[in-house]
């Protein structure tokens, strides 16, 4: 057995600017950051998992209600938002590639596109929310759809009386899409920050961990929406 402590040759090269004191090199730092964000994403999955459980419980026990209520949601807007998010995921993945390859212009462009698509997503969400709230489709006890929005339902459903628990469906809907929306907003904040740093020229083939970790987070947000879209807009 060797003695507990052996001196090691101190590297002569200057330390890279963004290398934290407790890592030997940037590669190690990047890998650790990736590991950390993956662990955090695991946590996020369970965070949403609670709401998916609520969805499952209420859907399993009030299937008719869910079948009825999903007609209040416009699948075209949902599909549009799905496409928007897939596009933003693509540009987020591309931004990582640009950073790794040192393409600074491309990096700035892809970050900006990601940010703009995220904003577009929120704009569509705003339209959906405001339309529903305007017509009295709130959540829980404050869900009293007015005649106009009821008139937009398929003819077969207009004859049916409004179910008593419509507010429960919308409680789950607003909670899940709302929490997802908060994540989108947080992602937009992160992309603003990345954009500012990219303009400063922080990122390059050596140092791109922040671009990658934020992109991983962004893909998870996309992934959650991939489930929310069919669960609410398509099958109800």
């Amino acid at each position: 057995m060797t003695a507990p402590a052996l001196d090691r040759a101190v590297p002569a090269a200057p330390r890279p600017r963004f290398l934290a004191g407790h890592f030997e090199d940037l590669g190690a730092q990047t890998e650790t950051a990736q590991l950390g964000i993956w662990l955090f994403l695991g946590s996020e999955i369970l965070f949403f998992g609670g709401l998916f459980t609520a969805y499952g419980v209420y859907r399993a026990n009030h299937l008719e209600l869910f079948r009825y209520a999903h007609h209040f949601l416009d699948w075209r807007l949902g599909a549009l938002n799905t496409v928007v998010l897939i596009g933003s995921s693509l540009s987020a993945a591309w931004s990582v590639r640009c950073a790794q390859l040192g393409q600074r212009r491309g990096l700035r462009a892809t970050l900006l596109v990601t940010l703009l698509l995220a904003a577009a997503f929120m704009a569509v969400k705003y339209l959906e929310y405001s339309h529903k709230l305007h017509h009295g489709v709130g959540w829980g006890a404050s869900c009293h759809p007015d005649a106009e929005i009821l008139g937009e339902l398929p003819a077969a459903l207009r004859a049916v009386p409004v179910p008593a628990r419509l507010g429960t469906f919308f409680a789950v809907y607003y909670l899940m899409t709302g929490l997802h929306g908060i994540h989108v907003l947080a992602g937009m904040g992160l992309y603003l920050w990345l954009l500012a740093r990219a303009r400063r020229g922080d990122f390059g083939p050596e140092y791109w961990a922040p671009v990658d970790t934020v992109a991983l987070y962004w893909h998870l947000v996309d992934m959650i929406w991939i489930f929310l879209f069919p669960l609410f807009y398509l099958i109800g």
Binding site: A5, T32, L46, A141, T168
Partner: protein, 557 residues
């Protein structure tokens, strides 16, 4: 080559200790040094323990007479709620991982810090905000929902502002716990010293790893539950409130999906400390290292699927009850494995009854009782009468207070010289350990009897038939408080008058003992080369002042 003992005396030019590295409140409150963050956690956690302890004493005094009378029923209900919430969320859950774990983990890994020091600081501040919110609950008149926060009671309008603050506190404290878990797992994966393989980790780190898994997977569900409760209370969503079409039993599923694994967040690090201490003070490698490491992981995984045993009489369906009962009983197995492996470690050892070891011996007895009485509550037939009686109160205090607290004190005494650079007085510390053991048992053993006799929990008043058990319990609570006071007093006194601690006062083999006490800001003067964490061959005791040093053994096997 640097003999580890050299650093005990400030000869030459050793790096200044982390305690001296930067002064003033900013250098502490905004530090990224895991050691300082650990110490700050320790301070806040100790304050939480004192606060929760004072609540407990008032509760016990009120139960001196069957009719109560010291405080009103409402006040009693608020006190037991805050006693539970403060003790669980602010002391037991973060106690060992956040305070001791933060300090020890990078040192045992041979790393300079945790993987994400800034996240670590954020984690501390989230915890501090959560603690402040709990104190704010007190300021707005308290809540009387019980720490379990069951709706519909907890979400009625009459609970007022307090419940909203409490839910917010739970949410924030939960995120602190998640971030700690992320940090620890990433650190263990990535920051092991060169040459340290997975099975060269000290078992405390295996325990923290398993804890981290639970923190990452279970705690977010607590967060979302608190958020849903918050929204339900504010907007009457009809999730949990039957008045609006919700299902209160659903809340219980959500709550216990976190809160049962949370018990393992508490007990696993405690088991980790026991594994360290029992090996060091028997001067023998831990018996069945891999078995103990794997049983930690097994407990973490099985522990996720036993939450329903809190709901056997709550209206959960019969078949769900059967599944949960079986899974619950399964947890007994890894716990039994650990216990027998610890005992086997002592076999033919050279057992040194220093304070940490005294605490660990009392841990064996207390954890034995706590674990075995769990069988009564996992088995359906006996759980039905015992559920929500004092039997349950006694059982979980044996596990969460008795076992965790004694392990916490064992760990605190074990690493105290490393944290502070001072040795505490053995005599007083051992007396305190004995008082804690006696006081604890006098407090909680009678509660088993009261529970079997049919006394429900959360009672501000009780039938005169239970008088004797309650009086004994109250007396015990004060003995326990005295023991705790003595233990803390002894430790604090050592800060002034304690003898300087050598780098390795116990002859332990894990890496934290190869660096000076207290360690320098950078933890190690050079990248450490790990030996096995339980390889005691070659460690020789020099003197009280110099501690133990590793003699390079040419004929090492």
């Amino acid at each position: 080559m640097i003999p580890a003992a050299r650093a005990a005396e400030p000869a030459g030019a050793p790096a200044e200790s982390y305690l001296a590295h930067g002064r003033g409140p900013r250098a502490w409150l905004l530090t990224l040094d895991h050691k300082r963050i650990g110490v700050m956690y320790l301070v806040v956690i100790t304050l939480a323990l004192l606060l929760g302890g004072v609540f407990a004493l008032v509760l016990r005094l009120n139960l001196w007479r069957p009719g109560g009378g010291l405080v009103s029923n409402d006040t009693y209900n608020k006190l037991f709620t805050l006693h539970g919430a403060v003790m669980i969320f602010l002391f037991v859950i973060p106690g060992i991982p956040a305070a001791l774990g933060n300090f020890v983990l990078p040192l045992q890994l041979g790393a300079k810090d945790v993987a994400f020091p800034r996240v670590n600081l954020l984690s501390f501040w989230l915890y501090a905000i959560g603690a402040t919110l709990f104190v704010a609950v007190l300021a707005v008149g308290g809540v009387d929902t019980g720490w379990t926060l069951y709706p519909p009671y907890s979400l009625e309008d009459a609970r007022g502002l307090g419940i909203l603050l409490a839910l917010a506190a739970v949410f924030v404290a939960g995120f602190s716990s998640i971030l700690t878990g992320v940090n620890f797992i990433a650190s263990i994966h990535r920051l092991r010293a060169p040459g340290m393989g997975w099975f060269d980790l000290p078992l405390f780190l295996w325990a923290l790893y398993a804890t981290g898994v639970i923190q990452i997977i279970a705690t977010p569900v607590l967060g979302i539950t608190a958020a849903m409760g918050f929204m339900d209370r504010l907007f009457h969503l009809g999730l949990f409130m039957p008045e609006y079409g919700g299902d209160p039993v659903l809340f219980q599923h959500f709550f216990w999906f976190y809160s049962h694994p949370a018990v393992y967040i508490m007990i696993l690090p405690a088991m980790g400390i026991v594994s360290e201490v029992v090996s060091v003070f028997s001067r023998k490698p831990i018996f069945g290292y891999r078995y103990i490491a794997m049983s930690s992981i097994a407990i973490a995984v099985i522990g996720f699927f036993v939450w329903g045993h809190h709901m056997f009489v709550s209206g959960q369906s019969r078949w769900t009850n059967l599944v949960f009962s079986f899974l619950t009983l399964l947890v007994a197995i890894p716990s039994a494995i650990k216990t027998f492996n610890w005992l086997a470690t002592m076999y033919k050892g050279a057992i040194d009854l220093r304070t940490p070891m005294v605490y660990v011996l009392s841990f064996f007895a207390i954890f034995g009782v706590g674990g075995l009485t769990g069988l009564f509550l996992g088995a359906l037939a006996t759980d039905v009468p015992l559920h929500d009686t004092y039997f349950v109160v006694a059982h979980f205090h044996f596990v969460m207070v008795g076992a965790v607290l004694t392990a916490f004190l064992a760990g605190l005494h074990y690493w105290w010289p490393k944290m502070t650079g001072r040795m505490y007085g053995e005599g007083m510390a051992r007396l305190a350990a004995a008082l804690v053991f006696v006081g604890f048992n006098v407090t909680f053993v009678p509660q088993f009897f009261a529970g079997v006799a049919g006394m429900p929990r959360r009672y501000a008043t009780y039938a005169p038939a239970f008088l004797g058990w309650n009086r004994a319990s109250t007396v015990g609570a004060f003995v326990l408080a005295l023991g705790m006071g003595l233990a803390l007093g002894g430790l604090l006194a050592s800060l002034r008058s304690g003898r300087r601690a050598p780098a390795n006062p116990w002859g332990a083999a894990s890496l934290e003992w190869t660096t000076p006490s207290p360690p320098p800001h950078e933890n190690f003067e050079a990248t450490p080369r790990p030996t096995g964490p339980y390889d005691f061959t070659g460690l020789r005791r020099v003197s009280d002042e110099a501690g133990w040093i590793r003699v390079p053994a040419e004929a090492a096997p």
